[in-house]
């Protein structure tokens, strides 16, 4: 290699090409730029004009210089210039190659092997015997010095181990090194370690030590934890350097059992920081599926963090027997359960069968006496497969005769009729306190506070098995909590209610602890050493040094004490260990692990850095030459006048085009959507659903226009022109009221449209379904339109309905009405059923009904036809005959007014229930 200063050339003879530059100069100088031919009629006026100067006849000197420079750069570039070329020096004597062989080596393992191979080859050339040692897999006996070539076949068999070298073993090995002198080549993994300095000192005692170390900092991932509801992930690196981005991916089994990526998020190391955290917001379903987190693109056991049960949050389903009672939050059977469980578990509420499909860990039935026949079998199956059914007593359970004569499979014990009250106004005695928990009870060890008292409970029938099943009892020995195992699962009954009506238990901290003990809520994340003492854990899956999860095969079990120790080693490879009822992940990187870069004394040459310092300049020179040639193109064009003058529009446009190439154009605004929103929200607007049948749509539109005019004339509601709503495309939230005429031919809306409709109904919208066939059919599936309505409304979230009762608020929101005719005076209309506990108030014409506006009104009287007016305000369709017909149309309009009033004012008129009381008070 030919060197000048710190720059060497790999192909120096190419530099002779530089001699050709002066010739090039002369050649280029002789050739002027070619002229442009232009057709120009004005040439007649140019004839006879001469040029002032003739300099551009030859290529200008600066253009020549540019070209010569470009050619010189090309020659230099191909000559292979290298900055700080590395001068290889060969040693003599035996060579010891030491590899750390830890997981931190894994990302660059092949490069390390290449490096070892190069060192072996070099040693082979100079005939040095070599010994190759991995610190994580120390050989016994003397150093195995062999001919370098003998080691080559063994290289492929080397693999990094997913643990760190054992300090003691390394120290022993260092002490047992032979006396002879040898040089050492140490491939370090780059992590600081206590054992390193001693070993280095021992090795330096035998000869020169050279260290190879990658300059890239080691990256690792700590085990996942919780930060509030999110999964917190922390990545660490050995040295704070520049800003770095890493991508963390969560992997696990999808519902079909195939492992795939469940989530992916970026994580940023700030400059100088060695830690970077990421909060991953995963839905519980997804989170419970995660089996490991890993830093993508990094093949290292340190970049993989297996998850165990600690990351799972248990799914708890809550079902209460008394949902329909209004408003009394603190009396709700589920209130205290929700408060107790919400911080630590994921709560599911809903229908029992739906819940079972979600396969929760725990199902809580609060004061539910019986489940239906169809529900019982799947519920039993679920318990049998390991579900925990937790039941609470209550008035309903006490009042039912479940588990009286014989034990119900879903109850742990038989119950006596009634139950008992203690310490109430009508009973003797004091409220009972709790007896301390027995040793066999899962609650053993919990402190019983004095203020926990029980005033009512359901009583267990004395039974031979009763004493085994009691896990908590009152001071007088009556069972408070009983448990029965069913298959792999269990059924637990609290003999008190889940609210504070029967006892103060739900108010105390004991309640939460008891739920915890019952494994209703999350167990503590880290098992303590005492917990693990004496247990044996079988490896389920293990990690290798590259971070690949492998089946454990028949690896031996690991004692619990060793797992509590936490540090993986040859006897306990990192992986997933299964115990009696839970799994524990042993990870390479613990929650408190800190990585630090290895520091080497100045006397030890660190090769990796020098390799980094050797830079090849050829590419840069060639790139510069290319850039110069590009400039030359522009300059040549400019010289010959083919480039538009600076400042002209062409250049500006070209530059703008270059700059803006990547900028996407503004997306077209949703004009139509905005226009609809403005039209629908700036005034009250009635709307009808587009059925696709032009005639029906026309009548609906005309009907709503007629109703709008009547509203405008008679009430303070002043609607604008009605709007036709397309369920597939339009937003429904703007409309208080939708009129939906049913025609046989209309298409079934899409799933997305149904989702919007359900959202609309749940948030206070009202739909008036009109089958328009009251003249020929009654309610139900008797007519084509009725069947169509059933098909249309099946996916809708519609509450139970009833024929409109006499005292419904719809009969009196504006006019007093009892009939609701349209064009036909056919039959009942149906509205949301009143809750069963709504009672008629004495002496009042109507009840204090549900606080909501009924979400649907269903009828078939073809109201729109009765309301419809043409452009001149005349009715479009005849209604009835003579005066009676006019009256019917008037009543139809009044129904429309009442309906819109009901939509807009809710149950305001229902409050007239209280008018006598108010008048009474005023009269006083």
């Amino acid at each position: 290699m030919f060197t000048i200063g710190s720059i060497g050339f790999t192909a120096p003879w190419l530099l002779l090409g530089l001699l050709a530059l002066p010739i090039l100069w002369l050649l280029l100088r002789a050739v002027p730029p070619a002229p442009i031919r232009r057709m120009f009629p004005g040439v007649a006026l140019l004839l006879g004009l001469t040029d002032d100067e003739t300099q551009t006849d030859k290529t200008p000197w600066w253009l020549l210089l540019l070209r010569a420079l470009a050619v010189a750069l090309i020659i230099l570039g191909f000559a292979g210039p290298v900055l700080n070329p590395r001068a290889e020096t060969a040693g003599s004597g035996p060579l010891l190659i030491v590899m750390d062989g830890t997981w931190a080596d894994a990302p660059g393992w092949t490069r390390r092997l290449d490096r070892v191979e190069a060192a072996l080859a070099e040693a082979g050339r100079s005939g040095r015997p070599v010994a190759l040692v991995s610190l994580t897999d120390l050989p016994g006996g003397d150093l195995p010095f062999r001919a370098a070539g003998d080691w080559l076949p063994e290289l492929a068999g080397l693999a990094p181990k997913p643990w760190l070298p054992d300090a003691e073993a390394v120290a022993d090995w260092a002490a047992a090194l032979p006396e002879d002198g040898f040089d050492t080549f140490w491939l370090s993994d780059g992590l600081a370690r206590g054992s390193r300095a001693d070993l280095l000192a021992a090795l330096e005692g035998h000869g020169d030590v050279t260290v190879f170390q990658s300059p890239h900092p080691v990256l690792a991932l700590r085990p996942a934890g919780f930060a509030k509801d999110k999964v917190a992930l922390t990545a660490i690196r050995a040295a704070g350097g520049a800003v770095r981005e890493a991508t963390v991916s969560a992997r696990g089994l999808d519902p079909s059992g195939i492992e795939r990526e469940l989530a992916r998020e970026d994580l940023d190391f700030e400059a100088g920081a060695t830690e970077a955290t990421l909060e991953l917001d995963l839905p519980p379903e997804l989170r419970n599926r995660v089996s490991r987190f890993e830093i993508t693109g990094l093949r290292s056991a340190g970049a993989v963090s297996l998850t165990d049960d600690a990351l799972r949050r248990r799914e708890v389903a809550l079902i209460a027997g008394r949902d329909d009672r209004e408003g009394l939050e603190l009396l709700s059977p589920l209130h205290y359960l929700q408060k107790a469980l919400a911080p630590s578990a994921d709560l599911i509420e809903g229908d029992l069968l739906d819940i079972l499909l979600a396969n929760p860990d725990v199902l809580i039935l609060a004061d539910v006496a019986t489940v239906s026949e169809g529900e019982e079998a799947p519920l039993l199956d679920w318990v049998d497969q390991g579900g925990l059914l937790l039941r609470f007593a209550g008035p309903r359970l006490a009042g039912s005769d479940i588990s009286r004569a014989e034990e119900d499979p879903l109850m742990p014990v038989r119950l006596r009729a009634g139950g008992r009250n203690i310490g109430g106004a009508m009973s003797w005695g004091e409220p009972k306190k709790l007896r301390p928990f027995a040793e066999t009870s899962p609650f053993f060890g919990l402190d019983v506070p004095d203020d926990v008292t029980v005033s009512s409970q359901v009583m267990a029938q004395p039974d031979p098995q009763l004493s085994q099943r009691v896990i908590a009892a009152l001071a007088d020995g009556t069972p408070l909590v009983t448990r029965k195992r069913v298959g792999q699962g269990q059924v637990v009954l609290f003999h008190v209610s889940a609210n504070a009506e029967w006892s103060t238990l739900p108010l105390s901290g004991l309640f939460v602890q008891m739920l915890e003990r019952l494994a209703v809520s999350t167990r503590p994340a880290e098992p303590s050493a005492e917990d693990l003492a004496g247990t044996v854990w079988a490896p389920d899956a293990v990690l290798d040094g590259f971070g690949v999860v492998r089946d454990a095969g028949n690896l031996a079990g690991v004692p619990g004490e060793r797992i509590a120790d936490g540090l993986p080693g040859p006897d306990m490879p990192p992986g997933l260990y299964t115990g009696e009822d839970r799994r524990i992940a042993v990870n390479v990187v613990g929650p408190d692990t800190v990585l630090a870069a290895a520091e080497w004394p100045a006397s030890v040459p660190v090769v990796g850095l020098e390799v980094q310092a050797e830079t090849r300049l050829g590419g840069w020179l060639l790139a510069a030459a290319l850039a110069l040639l590009c400039v030359d193109i522009l300059a040549s064009l400019w010289i010959s006048g083919r480039l538009p003058r600076p400042g002209s529009r062409g250049v500006a446009a070209a530059l703008a085009g270059l700059v803006l190439l990547a900028v996407p154009g503004p997306s077209p605004a949703q004009d139509s959507g905005d226009a609809l929103a403005l039209a629908a929200t700036s005034e009250v607007v009635l709307a009808h659903v587009v059925t696709g049948d032009a005639e029906v749509d026309k009548v609906a539109e005309a009907g709503l226009r007629g109703l709008s005019q009547v509203l405008w004339a008679r009430t303070s509601i002043e609607p604008a022109d009605p709007i036709a709503v397309n369920l597939e495309t339009d937003e429904l939230a703007f409309f208080p009221f939708l009129y939906w005429p049913i025609s046989e031919g209309q298409p079934i809306p899409s799933d997305a449209a149904y989702a919007r409709l359900n959202r609309y109904l749940r948030h206070g919208g009202m739909i008036l379904f009109d089958t328009r066939d009251a003249d020929i059919a009654g309610f139900g599936a008797a007519s084509a339109n009725g069947r169509k309505l059933q098909r249309l409304a099946a996916p809708l979230d519609i509450p139970p309905l009833e024929p409109i009762p006499e005292d419904h608020v719809l009969t009196r929101t504006f006019y007093l009405l009892q009939d609701f005719p349209g064009r036909y005076a056919g039959r009942d209309i149906w509205v949301e059923a009143a809750p069963p506990d709504a009672e008629a108030i004495e002496g009042m014409p109507f009840r204090d009904l549900n606080d909501n506006v009924t979400p649907v009104v269903i009828g078939g009287n073809d109201w729109a036809a009765a309301w419809a007016v043409d452009a001149r305000g005349k009715p479009m369709f005849p209604v009835g005959r003579g005066v009676g017909g006019q009256r019917q149309r008037e009543i139809a309009l009044r129904f429309g007014v009442n309906l819109v009033m009901h939509v807009l004012t809710g149950n305001y008129k229902s409050d007239q229930v209280h008018v006598p009381a108010l008048l009474d008070r005023l009269g006083q």
Binding site: R38, P41, V43, L45, D51, T56, S640
Partner: protein
């Protein structure tokens, strides 16, 4: 290639917004032709002008008996005096007119032909008679004449580099419109104008230029060639020529204007970068101008 029908359609569109052009009919006695060209006074013609009481001396056959029957006096129906003018159009068909500085712009020839045809449409609609010099036919006022002109415009006859007007059977006291870039040798033009002035012909010189010819946006080593390739001029720094070129162009324009003034013609310079409507407005006004 623009077809005859397309030329006609564009020109009709351009002329659509104009009232019928009324060219001044000078020296009526020499060029009396009855046409639809009302003079707003009684005279010979086809259109009704007014009733006037019959005077002694009126031939009896002139009396309008229908009108006279309604009153006691006799009335004579007078007709409106109508006269028509002949307008000769000359549009330069030389190759220099095929130049355009920007592919998006119309060539000078296209613009010139469009203007000429639009004027022809207006004139014929106003009852005047129009002749295209290149056709050699006498002036006619028919739609067929328009069609012939348009067809001639659509064709591409062999042409020299620069054109000069050749008007053989120029009717005395008629009107003329010359459309060209006038970049060629001005001598034939002067001769033709002198000849026209001798016959009492008045008219308009409409010079059509491309904006590139006004701006001379060239630089660098350039060989300029005329459209036909007969003229060549090589320069090493085209940018330096700009000032002198513009001087010469201004001189040429001044010379044309002087020439026009000397023979009582109008001179107008139109650029293809401007809308054709403005030029048509000018031509409309110039041809209608009365003295």
């Amino acid at each position: 290639m623009t077809t005859a029908a397309a030329y006609r359609q564009k020109a009709e569109g351009l002329a659509g917004g104009m009232p019928p052009l009324l060219a001044e009919a000078e020296h009526l006695a020499q060029a009396v032709m009855l046409g639809f060209h009302g003079r707003r006074r009684g005279g010979m013609g086809d259109e009704f002008w007014q009733y006037r009481p019959a005077r002694s001396g009126d031939p009896r056959r002139l009396i309008d008996w229908r009108r006279s029957g309604r009153s006691d006096t006799h009335f004579v129906q007078e007709k409106e005096w109508q006269a028509a003018q002949s307008v000769f159009l000359w549009v330069d068909e030389a190759q220099s007119m095929d130049f355009t500085g920007d592919p998006a712009r119309a060539t000078k020839a296209e613009r010139g032909k469009l203007l000429a045809l639009a004027i022809a449409v207006l004139l014929i609609r106003g009852g005047e008679r129009v002749a295209l010099a290149a056709l050699g036919t006498p002036p006619r006022a028919s739609q067929l004449q328009l069609l012939r002109i348009a067809e001639r415009f659509a064709g591409r006859p062999e042409a020299p580099d620069y054109g000069a007007p050749v008007l053989r059977n120029l009717a005395p006291q008629s009107r003329a419109l010359f459309v060209s870039d006038f970049l060629g040798d001005p001598a034939p033009l002067e001769a033709q104008l002198a000849q026209a002035a001798d016959r009492g012909v008045r008219g308009v010189l409409c010079q059509v230029l491309d904006p590139a010819e006004e701006a001379f946006p060239f630089d660098g080593r350039t060989i300029f060639e005329s459209m036909g390739g007969t003229l060549r001029h090589e320069t090493l720094k085209a940018g330096d020529l700009k000032g002198r070129y513009l001087d010469r162009l201004a001189q040429r324009k001044a010379r044309l204007a002087d020439l026009a003034r000397a023979v009582g013609w109008q001179y107008h310079c139109h650029h293809t970068g401007q809308p054709a409507q403005s030029a048509l407005l000018y031509l409309y006004g110039a041809l209608e101008r009365r003295r």
